[in-house]
Symmetry: C2
Subunit: 401 residues, 2 copies
């Protein structure tokens, strides 16, 4: 019940253990096509270029940044938590000239702030986290795509922590690139990164296309060597050829992780994306109500909290790591702390994926009550679970549960 | 029964579906330590720096090259097949000044040729494939480590296709970096890349250490920004901190693939590395005897063939892809063709990992006999299976099976 990775859905675990098939077996090609189509629905997009990167969510981020940023190009990264710093860091390593704006941890940006920065910096790319688990904030994106189109800026968002737990509309919002991971609201294991690219982004990537020596026929040589993508593994022009009609050999697809990623998407599409988001909103809010019922203060702008993760301020005088250890050792429940300025200051509670359920919320609150009490904090018996149950009843009356 | 990926061992598939645990759960830390120790045995090394890269075998290659090569440094890549071209290509993208020597496909290098090239080029790094599946050749490495030490060159080898099917002695041979994948003789799925680094290599990597913004305390800043590793995801200095005592956050470990990788190594260590190599030698040679029994001519220098993959020349007048399709559609058996100059010229037969068995060899030969005959090739009934069975009997008499 921390900020992820989470317990995977048992159906996803089962999918992982399916027998392997060859990477050019027609059945495998069919699985790859199905996976692409399923993720188009997850990302709410018609983008042909929708596929998996074989690596963790961070691999997806690096694939987009190294493929879209030519060394020397300007990149704007608005930072509202740890993962904004990560985008800056990766963009710098890709050779980008990175400009940042920052807002206090626990807040998000207004579209006007981003627009002003874009006009000043004139970047080629805006790289913006949607949900930053380090602060639990969810940056509104709906108005930013239009700004980017007006200013001719590519718009990339990292939706690792937010996708399927919060609304994300790739096409409607004008997102040019989105990446994610399985280990949060997608209810799977870390190790595969779903990704989608708009036709604008594909055009940039194709402009840097360079076919690998050893499988090249000698054609397809890039005329501008400076444009060559600095990574082979993350070269999206080659990865698009591998997933596309050419089926040109690149890496050997991680078959088991593909099975898992496909099952994650299949379960979400069966449930319905809107239903999945509502489920995260319901159980995420129940957790918050319960935490407040226990007398804890929530961290950050609650109007912009991600549905699926919340942070409670550690009460003064309590050793937060000791409580986390007790929760794990006595109850088998993992909760998180945070990074940088928030390390040791907050506990983070994830309610995501397979763990976005009533029983997990109530069990966590019950265990937390016991652990707080033994940590010397005065707690009214049943105050957490009771408040959460009241919230569930109230929502049921309103037809939300 | 192609050059990989292969059918995974069912015990590895089962391991993949184990429930997830948090990345800082003590149980997870213990799994990571066990995995490191198991791979030390697989790589025949005492290197502390032995771990997994979360990606396919190609990810391991790129992690080593981008972490060891500073832009502008000289790299020597002896090329004897497609995967030598891949090492060149990745090293170039890392900014290395890459020099190559080539030998005809189907042959390997003599140590003197490599020594002469090292003296001429004076590279910082020698990057050399051990087993190149494109040609089936296995480059002898035992004498090259000593040359590299004498000339103060780091020695990296890509053992993706060869490890556990052919002898590899990291410490004894003076290898500074070795990478692999699970999808060949390790009997697992693609998607995790075991890797080991000597203390010489670790020193180079640590010299380029740079802690990520957002989790950094402000110390640990690199004084020479040109030395900064160009990738975050493949930055071995950070990945070593993640797997090491510091346990500093980097990516979110791909838990399911870790379980799989651990099981692959556990099965090999239980069997004994020498026994596993002997098993690949036995069944690989039985396949070759059977192919010759069917009247096929083998491709390449048979004295330097990898135990686990062999290539037969496609008989004149036969459409090789049609036969491959029949093998798959009629018998459910996948065999390979090759790349570049060998595309459509040879079929490749893999006898590796879980598929390095008597029944898989004999079934493949039986199916191939039928398919060749229907392709219009004159074949003596039983000539493939019979020759292989004779070979097995002969080996059993000699106590090898």
């Amino acid at each position: 019940m921390g900020p992820g990775p989470i317990n995977a859905d048992p159906r996803v675990l089962r999918a992982l253990s399916a027998p392997l098939i060859g990477q050019y077996d027609p059945a495998m090609t069919q699985y790859m096509h199905e996976t692409m189509q399923l993720y188009r629905e997850v990302f709410a997009t018609d983008n042909t270029a929708t596929l998996l990167i074989d690596g963790t969510s961070r691999a997806g981020i690096e694939a987009v940044l190294v493929s879209l940023i030519k060394p020397g190009e300007r990149v704007l990264v608005p930072i509202f938590g740890r993962f904004g710093h990560l985008l800056r860091e990766i963009a710098e390593r890709c050779g980008g000239e990175v400009h940042v704006i920052e807002c206090p941890w626990g807040e998000v940006f207004q579209p006007e702030q981003i627009e002003t920065a874009i006009r000043k910096v004139k970047p080629r790319l805006l790289a913006l986290v949607q949900g930053d688990t380090s602060t639990t904030m969810c940056q509104p994106l709906a108005e930013i795509g239009a700004i980017c189109r007006r200013e001719d800026v590519l718009f990339y968002t990292d939706a690792t922590a937010s996708l399927a737990g919060n609304s994300l509309k790739t096409d409607e919002w004008g997102l040019d690139a989105v990446t994610a991971g399985l280990q949060k609201c997608l209810a799977g294991p870390s190790g595969s990164s779903p990704l989608t690219l708009s036709s604008r982004a594909v055009e940039v990537v194709h402009g840097r296309r360079h076919v690998e020596a050893g499988i090249s026929s000698g054609r397809d040589r890039l005329t501008d060597p400076g444009a060559r993508i600095r990574s082979n593994y993350f070269d999206l022009s080659m990865i698009l050829d591998y997933w596309g009609e050419l089926r040109l050999n690149h890496h050997t697809e991680a078959t088991s992780m593909l099975y898992g990623a496909r099952e994650c998407a299949r379960l979400l599409i069966n449930e319905g994306m809107e239903n999945a988001i509502d489920r995260h909103a319901l159980h995420g809010q129940a957790m918050v109500e319960g935490l407040k019922g226990l007398g804890l203060e929530m961290f950050g702008d609650q109007a912009h909290r991600m549905h699926n993760v919340s942070a409670a301020v550690i009460p003064a005088g309590l050793e937060g790591e000791g409580l986390r250890r007790s929760m794990l050792e006595d109850f088998g429940i993992e909760i998180g702390t945070s990074f940088g300025p928030l390390h040791g200051k907050v506990w983070r509670f994830g309610v995501m994926g397979y763990n976005a359920r009533r029983d997990t919320v109530l069990t966590t609150l019950a265990a937390l009550e016991q652990t707080l009490r033994r940590g010397g904090i005065s707690v009214v018996g049943g105050s957490g679970v009771g408040t959460a149950l009241d919230f569930y009843s109230d929502q049921a009356l309103r037809g939300h549960a």
